[in-house]
């Protein structure tokens, strides 16, 4: 079929290009970072415009000291989400490397697994060194939703892509923010460089897997995929709002605070901005419907 063979050659070209880039730009992360012994508490740990209070009255009502404390714990939480997200994606990719159906991708998977392992190391190092902890992952850790293997692979690589694109929204902006500490900028910009390749691959494989399964499943099944991914997008962006973070920053009623933020129109606008590029990709390729309610 013409569309599938075009996609096949497109993914092969992409794989050749990004494997070459992985080899040419390889760095030793264990020597790359000069970790300061400590970071000052009174500083912005992430760009104020990226915090979960941005666009709400709390951005004005809280003192600068409170906001800086919140920026510290939000950044530790953001890197913790990275640690947990990478663990999940490594498990899924390792499960598929050198198995039928992933012959072409397996060479790239070796680079992907190696790079993601290193990302997990530097995010965990940041959390433990400057926050003294990694926030606990409370997402469901057991298989609740069982689906056919080809749909499962589509959902796995879609989840990886969504996770990487949301993270990249933050990495890109934090890496460019000259008001932030150099180590904060460096961790984010290095991650952004590597993730650009992973996102390029992710988009190709998601398109390919979707093209392969559409002729095999009824419309009803594809609608379930659409609904699941739309809900996953929303759940992913909502996971940035953490009661444990608000508690650590001294917010008196962290659960009510979280609910208020999630319901605030300013936050809905920010959430839509964070997800825009990803939603455009999934709708453009017919994987989710344009009517998806992501507010």
């Amino acid at each position: 079929m013409p569309q599938t063979s075009t996609r096949t050659s497109s993914i092969e070209q992409t794989l050749d290009r990004i494997i070459g880039m992985s080899i040419d730009t390889y760095y030793n992360p264990y020597k790359t970072f000069q970790w300061p012994d400590e970071l000052p508490e009174a500083q912005w740990w992430m760009s104020p415009g990226l915090m979960t209070v941005a666009g709400t009255p709390y951005a004005e009502e809280l003192s600068e000291t409170q906001l800086m404390a919140l920026s510290k714990w939000e950044s530790i939480h953001f890197y913790s989400l990275n640690v947990h997200g990478i663990r999940e994606l490594l498990l899924e990719v390792v499960k598929r490397i050198h198995t039928p159906g992933f012959e072409k991708e397996s060479e790239f998977f070796h680079h992907f697994v190696g790079e993601e392992n290193e990302h997990m190391w530097f995010f965990a190092t940041f959390c433990l060194k400057y926050g003294g902890k990694i926030y606990v992952d409370k997402k469901a850790k057991w298989a609740i939703d069982s689906v056919e293997p080809d749909i499962e692979s589509l959902l796995v690589f879609s989840r990886i892509l969504i996770f990487e694109e949301i993270v990249d929204y933050f990495n890109l902006r934090i890496g460019r923010d000259e008001s932030l500490h150099p180590i904060i900028r460096q961790v984010n910009s290095i991650h952004h460089q590597d993730e650009s390749r992973h996102i390029t691959f992710g988009r190709e494989i998601v398109k390919q897997l979707f093209d392969q399964l559409t002729p095999k499943h009824p419309q009803e099944k594809l609608q379930e995929v659409d609904q699941y991914l739309s809900r996953y997008l929303l759940a992913s962006v909502q996971s940035l709002y953490s009661p444990a973070v608000y508690r650590d920053a001294g917010v008196p009623d962290p659960y009510r605070f979280r609910t208020e933020l999630l319901e605030h129109p300013g936050r809905r606008e920010h959430n839509a901005k964070i997800l825009k590029r990803t939603v455009d990709f999934f709708t453009h390729n017919g994987i989710i419907s344009e009517q998806a309610d992501l507010r």
Partner: protein, 81 residues
């Protein structure tokens, strides 16, 4: 026996997300019947934390505590999960 008002809140929370269900028996499997799925689980944990006033240990080993209203009462509302 009078129902624990906290358990009534849990039931309301779950039913509000599954309007097709009229009621929930104490032993109805919430996971098997997809009243809770992987995408709603985190919000459910936060709801229960707010209700109990303490952080919950949600791990693969503690999944059974979330499986029914009965186990939620025993392990979470009256227990120390």
């Amino acid at each position: 026996m009078t129902e624990d008002p906290r358990l009534a809140s849990v039931k309301d929370w779950l039913l509000s997300r599954k309007p097709e269900l009229a009621d929930l028996d104490l032993d109805f499997d919430l996971i098997e019947n997809r009243v809770i799925d992987s995408l709603s689980f985190l919000e459910f944990v936060f709801f229960l934390e707010e209700l109990t006033g303490r952080e919950l240990q949600a791990t693969a080993e503690t999944v059974n505590a979330f499986r029914s209203l009965h186990s939620i009462q025993k392990e979470i509302l009256d227990g120390s999960l």
